[in-house]
Symmetry: C2
């Protein structure tokens, strides 16, 4: 039995009390991964942004709103886990200033300076201990395998799951799993439930059952 | 029997294929207003942005994504209706440019120029015929009655419903209904279902049953 942290869903970065930047991540992939992990007998905690779906009852759920909140919970929780699967789509830009009052339209528009938010999975990857593992997700609008491999290296991910924008808020997905060296160890297409079982099989074989004597 | 158009839910304005600006409008108020109108025997069409709630089966539903889409459907549909209730929270800023590819983080952030989107209810209000009526909503983070009245005048609304930011994505709401002259004709607090019945009573009395011989 391993202890798995799964990040899931979108986060929000507010411009003012009403408007925010986000994406249409639904949490479906995180829920499906959690269910697959629970069925393998693992202990699962889901760290989720705002979603309307229901997570498996047997998982613990921590709810956050912004990327900074997701990061701080992830950093605080990670020492208690064996590994993390980063299925969330944290909003990676945030306004340099957040208005306390609703911005009032005056006909002239606004100029919004956006900073990059800290990368949750990269932060965990860079601080992970020898016994811990990190599986990242890369969402690309093209099949940018090279960029996904670079991301795996930069984020210190043991494995990276590459998927496309059509997976967002869909019940279906198509994925590749790449190692840091760019080797493709799984291609899968189907419902998020079915694909999650395949992903968890790879995680189980390469990261959980692995005895540490040779590279995963 | 009147023919009512109800706008509902948020809209999205995309920065790139993944990220968008929106708000947490749930469509609950639009659904409750539709239900209250149907119970009074009216014919109801809901023009809605992306929501996860279910609308009443007896209402027709038109789904849109962006504010421009909501506007073009509203303008095309409005001649077939006696009145419109603008319960939607259309996103009122849109990026001057939308990237066709997912924006790639490079550590430097981005500068986003936002234009104001056209106002759906103001456009309908300014083009309405003598027999048609328009009820707007104003969402303010303070109790800005003066601004709501100004909005009613600018948008040519017969009535404006003033509510607060806490109403967004909540099952409860607190509203005032103001005339163009700033007269408060209803204060109500409660579930969106109960408040919707009170709003529809005012609409029925002042706009639907009204015989046209004196100001509503």
């Amino acid at each position: 039995m391993a202890r798995l942290l799964i990040t899931s869903g979108p986060t929000r970065q507010y411009l003012d009390p009403v408007r925010y930047i986000t994406n249409c991540s639904s949490g479906l992939m995180g829920a499906a991964l959690a269910q697959a992990a629970l069925e393998l007998g693992h202990q699962v905690t889901i760290l989720t942004g705002p979603v309307t779906i229901c997570y498996p009852d047997a998982a613990s759920v921590i709810e956050v709103l912004s990327t900074d909140e997701m990061l701080s919970h992830a950093v605080a929780q990670f020492p208690d886990f064996d590994g993390v699967i980063g299925a969330a789509a944290p909003c990676d830009y945030k306004p340099s200033q957040v208005s306390q009052e609703k911005l009032v339209k005056d006909g002239s528009g606004i100029n919004l300076e956006l900073f990059e938010t800290p990368d949750v999975i990269a932060t965990l990857g860079q601080s992970k201990l020898d016994h811990q593992w990190v599986v990242g997700f890369a969402l690309e609008t093209d099949d940018h395998r090279f960029r996904a491999t670079t991301k795996a290296q930069q984020k210190c991910c043991d494995l990276i799951v590459l998927n496309g924008v059509t997976a967002l808020n869909s019940t279906m997905t198509s994925i590749h799993i790449l190692t840091q060296q760019g080797e493709c160890v799984l291609r899968a297409h189907g419902t998020k439930q079915d694909v999650s079982h395949e992903i968890l099989s790879v995680v189980q074989r390469r990261l959980i059952d692995f005895d540490g004597e040779e590279g995963p």
